[in-house]
């Protein structure tokens, strides 16, 4: 699908889920940071695979298996192109960002991190980029250090030279914060981390969704992301890592498809990427993620980024004017990705979310799997409105109306 000029109203029609009323009002979906809706082309790709080509990949010597394998590997190449990988074999299919990070923390971590070594992460991380490293630290005796945040939730980088030492083995940081929307200076931190020889892993769950990502330009070693936040199906995601790094790593899980030869005592592994893909993979999911990339590429990532930036500016301006609101994270749209985290007077975020839901408006309320970031601000939860390519100014207007209703109830 190619869209000549960017028009969110036209784009919206491609998403069947958005064409419904909730609680008697047309749905306003502002929970995109949790998961995006799926365009028709992605749903069609899933259906077409199951109806026409369903079979296992890299196994059967028959026509269906050949077709499934071709589609599966073509999707890998699309994902590789999406983030600027040097070659498709640098893309490992995973269940999502979380599994991609666990793959590195386990398969790379257990062999490369030892007692007294240091792992540097930030207070802003999603739990999926904290817990895998805590598990690794517990098993190896390594120490976790944190990049702290300023009052707008930005990394305090003045302390970076002190935080990075010759014991720092890995720096694991998010590209864009899911809790505050902060776009983080990953490139700068990656360069400093490489000075001390540390591996740099980026949690790109909220990154590759809204902007063109070039892992070469970012200068990182691993980039983890999910399909479902970028119009693809759930249960599929990818790890990009440098080929030489992947070659040097032990497998993550053992099973079918990841072997070269199996003996009674010793076995050898398939080459990258298959070495990391034990068991029958999520074939339909991979094909669906490829279709999502085709869709987003057709719309144009630059056009999407521009639209989201303008809409975010509009939302920040209108929301700031609501009496009693507090917006967390950077206040300028230029430092901000497509979400706004906020509280409103003494209304608890869950109450905000219930009241908005009664008006057909979907937002997220809670700690957003970022309890360390919440603790930094001395709160337990925020409400979060997150936008995507199909959201419009009228969605924001509806949100503002809903917030006024919250104020009415909690006045």
């Amino acid at each position: 699908m190619t869209i000549a000029t960017f028009d969110p109203v036209t784009i919206r029609r491609e998403f069947p889920t958005l064409e419904q009323s909730v609680n008697g009002r047309p749905l306003v979906y502002l929970d995109n940071a949790a998961t995006s809706q799926k365009p028709r082309v992605v749903l069609d790709a899933l259906r077409a695979y199951y109806e026409n080509d369903n079979s296992n990949v890299h196994r059967g010597i028959h026509e269906l298996s050949r077709r499934a394998t071709v589609a599966y590997e073509e999707s890998r190449a699309k994902v590789a192109g999406w983030v600027g990988a040097a070659e498709p074999s640098e893309i490992i299919w995973t269940r999502g960002t979380t599994e991609a990070i666990n793959l590195v923390s386990t398969a790379w971590g257990l062999d490369n991190v030892g007692e007294g070594d240091e792992i540097l992460i930030s207070v802003l991380e999603h739990h999926s980029n904290i817990i895998p490293w805590q598990l690794l630290a517990r098993r190896t005796g390594a120490v976790i250090k944190y990049i702290e945040l300023d009052e707008q939730g930005r990394w305090i980088l003045d302390e970076l030279p002190r935080l990075l030492t010759d014991r720092t083995k890995v720096v694991a940081i998010s590209h864009v914060s899911n809790a505050l929307g902060t776009v983080n200076p990953v490139k700068r931190v990656a360069a400093a981390a490489h000075e001390v020889g540390a591996l740099v892993l980026v949690d790109g769950a909220q990154g590759a969704v809204h902007m063109k990502v070039d892992v070469q330009e970012l200068g990182v070693d691993c980039y983890a992301f999910s399909g479902h936040k970028m119009c693809g199906p759930t249960g599929i995601g990818a790890l990009w890592a440098r080929r030489d790094l992947l070659d040097s790593m032990e497998p993550y899980q053992g099973g079918g498809e990841m072997i070269h030869f199996v003996g009674r005592d010793e076995s050898s592994w398939a080459t990258v990427p298959h070495k990391f893909e034990a068991g029958t993979p999520n074939i339909a999911g991979a094909i669906g993620m490829g279709a999502a990339i085709d869709f987003l590429s057709g719309v144009g990532m630059d056009a999407i980024a521009k639209h989201e930036h303008e809409l975010l500016g509009y939302a920040l301006e209108r929301m700031s004017a609501v009496d009693g609101i507090r917006i967390y994270g950077p206040q300028s749209p230029d430092e901000h990705s497509a979400l706004i985290s906020f509280t409103l007077g003494d209304a608890h975020p869950h109450d905000i979310s219930t009241i908005l839901d009664s008006e057909g408006i979907a937002v997220r309320a809670g700690h957003h799997c970022a309890q360390l970031a919440m603790q930094h601000f001395g709160i337990s939860a925020t409400a979060r409105a997150s936008i995507y390519l199909y959201n419009t100014e009228s969605d924001i207007d509806r949100l503002i109306e809903g917030l006024e209703q919250v104020r009415g109830i909690f006045s």
Partner: protein
């Protein structure tokens, strides 16, 4: 499923307890303390009871969360003062049944002000909020009974 009107949820008495919670403090002498949290939404309560001769002398709590969870705990503590352990258990069971949509439980006069929370039962995703205090109470009663017998 259509959400019922919001006024069945956000009644004045609920908002009043949310803003001015009763018995929200640390208990100096406590017989039992239970910490209960809902990791999904961050609601949290530490319920503390002082019990003498199978009777709750004092009930206090410390916690944070939404209006529903905080109001329910606040109202609950007001009913626990001077309440026998057996009656506290009945109260918890009765409230839980009301949240599960049992119309007879909702008519039970022993629930007193807690009956204003009946509307929560029509909001499935919020039932857990209303129950966190009573879940803590039931856990506290069990823990206390175990400690007494051991």
């Amino acid at each position: 499923m259509e959400t019922p009107p919001l006024n069945s949820l956000y009644q004045q008495l609920i908002l009043e307890h949310y803003r001015n919670p009763r018995n929200k403090a640390e208990l100096e002498e406590k017989s039992v303390e239970i910490h209960m949290a809902n990791p999904v939404c961050g609601d949290e309560v530490r319920l503390q009871l002082r019990i003498t001769d199978d009777q709750i002398e004092e009930a206090k709590f410390v916690g944070q969360g939404c209006s529903i969870s905080q109001a329910a705990i606040s109202m609950m503590t007001t009913l626990l003062h001077g309440c026998s352990l057996a009656d506290a258990k009945i109260l918890a069971e009765c409230f839980t049944k009301m949240m599960q949509g049992d119309p007879d439980a909702a008519k039970d006069k022993r629930l007193k002000d807690l009956r204003v929370l009946q509307g929560v039962s029509k909001f499935p995703v919020r039932i857990k909020c209303a129950l966190i205090g009573f879940d803590a109470l039931q856990e506290a009663l069990k823990t206390y009974a175990k400690e007494e017998t051991s």
